[in-house]
Symmetry: C2
Subunit: 113 residues, 2 copies
């Protein structure tokens, strides 16, 4: 089985962006609206493969986004609305974040019967 929170990715290799972030206590409504819009745009971006995202009660979040190439990541990064959202994120929504770009070499899931 695969729950709705899992990305259905192809056989490796492909790329992953790991975005770990700590929310400020500020502007929950503005953040939620922008986050939903960014997920919508991400899904429409060429080369998008899937997304998995969790935020805990303490405001720490991890979003993992999968892409078919480095060019796809660069294309999403260049999107005008994404750039505007990043600026807002730095100014208001995130106390801190770390972003890592990595090439997926192996993948497997479970449990299996």
């Amino acid at each position: 089985m695969s729950g709705s929170g899992f990305a259905a990715t192809p056989r490796p290799p492909y790329w992953v962006v790991v975005f770990t972030s700590q929310r400020t206590p500020d502007d929950d409504a503005g953040y939620a609206a922008a986050a939903a819009r960014m997920v919508e745009l991400t899904r429409q971006s060429p080369g998008f493969l899937g997304i998995e995202s969790v935020r805990g009660a303490d405001g720490l979040g991890i979003t993992v986004c999968y892409w078919d190439s480095e060019e796809a990541i660069a294309g999403w990064r260049a999107h005008v609305e994404h750039a505007e959202a990043r600026a807002q994120g730095k100014a208001r929504w995130y106390a801190h974040y770390e972003l890592r770009v990595a090439k997926v070499e192996r993948a497997y899931g479970g449990p299996h019967a």
Copy 2:
């Protein structure tokens, strides 16, 4: 700044294991004890660089663990207690999981003043 939920990783390249999982509703106490023990053992494992972990109220979790080499990942995988915990995880704790091993090529953090 870097909150306590962030891993302090070196300059790339290094390796990342992304583990996305959906908890069953079962055995919260047993799972919590095992998870804490696994984090403790992971931190002692050779080549460990850092860990970031979040679980949401719906039971979906993402744990991201950083390693200095593929050999370090293989070493942790071979740990006897880790193997036992994986068996329990498949049998009781996880409705589903996906594990991906990737090589980190680029990384940056923010916001910067």
